[in-house]
């Protein structure tokens, strides 16, 4: 983090899901189709030639209709999906919160899950030892950390998940519709923490179906339409255009 410059850079990134025309979930059926020469695939391009660069410290919202490629874009940036074509360049440690509580083992205690989850996110045991108390404190779980998390409410799971994923200041924070859970008080604390990261120079990407949340938190907004980057610019301008588009197609489609 020496100079300014892009933290994330996508060069003509395309991503293709290759879906079998017939459902071929088993080796047996695969063999049958292979012998008959009837293996056919349907290509579904979830992203098409997306080119963009995000600077250090930017907070970027992503909007678009269902299936426009928002989550796929976040997965590519997180490194979970590899682009079919094009390249991704990324600097620093990424905290991807694509879903709160992924990787939890429901048989283990909250305490054990803190270790497991943080290790999955690429942390070392020693770092976790140091932050353990802070994580428990932020989650507000107190003595519950000693019981198996299968006894937790969904709000508690979300709190624990968020506390672990944000225990270290990430260089890139990726949020996919995750802030709708937990109570209002915890939501405030989450927003405060995100705000602190932002001030400290973390680059943030947010997917949300709530345009007002995007307007409040982001300066810049990306609008995806059928896998393509429809527009990229200041948040107010993009959101206004997006709303006009949605209302326009909404009435035309009669939905």
């Amino acid at each position: 983090m020496t100079s300014n410059g892009s933290v994330i850079e996508l060069r003509d990134v395309s991503l293709c899901y290759r879906l079998a025309k017939q459902k071929i979930p088993s080796l047996k059926e695969y063999a049958i189709h292979f012998i008959k020469g009837s293996l056919a695939y349907e290509e579904l391009w979830a992203l098409r030639d997306v080119a963009l660069s995000i600077e250090e410290g930017e907070t970027v919202g992503i909007v678009g209709r269902n299936g426009a490629g928002k989550s796929t874009l976040l997965k590519v940036v997180s490194g979970v999906l590899k682009p079919t074509r094009g390249t991704l360049r990324r600097r620093g440690w990424v905290a991807p919160i694509l879903e709160l509580g992924t990787g939890f083992d429901y048989e283990l205690t909250g305490y054990e899950n803190i270790y497991l989850n943080a290790l999955l996110l690429g942390r070392q045991r020693k770092e976790i030892d140091e932050r353990l108390d802070a994580i428990i404190e932020f989650s507000g779980l107190d003595d519950f950390v000693r019981s198996p998390i299968r006894n937790y409410s969904s709000g508690m799971l979300a709190r624990l998940g968020f506390s672990i994923a944000t225990a270290w200041k990430p260089d890139v924070l990726i949020l996919d519709e995750v802030l709708g859970v937990g109570d209002a008080r915890f939501l405030k604390r989450c927003e405060k923490r995100i705000e602190e990261f932002r001030k400290a120079g973390t680059t943030i990407l947010i997917v949300s179906h709530d345009p007002e949340a995007v307007r409040k938190n982001c300066q810049r907004c990306l609008w995806l339409e059928q896998g393509q980057l429809e527009a990229d610019g200041p948040v107010d301008e993009i959101l206004d255009r997006y709303r006009e588009f949605i209302e326009g197609t909404g009435t035309r489609a009669g939905a």
Partner: protein, 254 residues
């Protein structure tokens, strides 16, 4: 694969979890790991000495060493396949090197194999089977067995994600493979015309390298050792290459 070093704390945690889950299920879970091969050995000893009637000196030791090896191989491969599939949901949400799961599975298998050594040595003492210095060669033999198994696990684990019936299929193949390997029968009962099947079975050399120091009390002959090392190297290379080629696709199939 080099990324795995950065994730070694995670691998260790997964191994610990694997062992905990295995032993927490039942209070005698830990004892069970030791008892299970012993009981299999008893059954086989009864069957083979009473029904098939062949004379292998101290057959229980021969069978037990074979069963321990096979259990390790079979369980590690099947669990590796399950490990990727059962963590598939996680793999599409968190960018983690996918090889950590099969690697942790095989390591947990090695630890279980070491636990199972305890009853083996008890049997050796009880039956008065000589324990020779050659047992010091066992760490090398276990390392070979582990790398061979890891190769097989890496090759098969992604397939279990792509096709749901792979695990059942491999389960059947494993049984076939077991009968093609002298796990519990001695080589000299194999009829002449089927000998080539056993001879060219790549797993056999890895098994014999493990069993020689225990049963014959000797370091495996260089010819056996060379074959075992080559077979292991090939299995590992094939496994790593196949895994690297397919691991980027895993997230698409979940």
């Amino acid at each position: 694969m080099i990324e795995l070093l950065r994730y070694r704390d995670l691998v260790r945690a997964l191994v610990v979890r694997d062992l905990k889950v295995r032993y927490r299920r039942s209070t005698i879970g830990f004892l069970w790991t030791m008892l299970q091969p012993l009981m299999t050995m008893l059954v086989l000893t009864m069957v083979f000495s009473a029904v098939f009637r062949f004379d292998a000196p101290n057959y229980p030791v021969y069978a037990l060493a074979g069963i321990m090896f096979w259990n390790f191989f079979n369980q590690s491969v099947i669990t590796s396949m399950n490990s990727l599939r059962s963590n598939a949901q996680l793999l599409i949400k968190i960018p983690v090197p996918k090889a950590v799961f099969p690697v942790a599975t095989v390591l947990a298998g090695v630890i279980n194999l070491l636990f199972a050594m305890v009853p083996l040595f008890v049997i050796l003492l009880v039956t008065g089977h000589p324990i020779r210095p050659a047992v010091l060669f066992l760490p090398v033999a276990i390392l070979l067995a582990a790398l061979f198994t890891l190769g097989a696990g890496l090759l098969l684990a992604p397939m279990a994600v792509f096709f749901y019936d792979t695990i059942e299929m491999i389960g059947v193949l494993m049984t076939l493979l077991m009968y093609m390997t002298p796990v519990f029968y001695p080589m000299d009962i194999v009829p002449e015309k089927y000998l080539w099947v056993v001879r060219f079975n790549p797993i056999r050399s890895v098994l014999e390298v493990f069993r020689d120091p225990i049963y014959f009390g000797k370091i495996p002959p260089l010819t056996h050792l060379t074959v075992a090392v080559s077979v292991t190297a090939v299995a590992l290379i094939v496994g790593v290459v196949a895994f690297r080629r397919s691991s980027d696709r895993i997230a698409f199939y979940v």
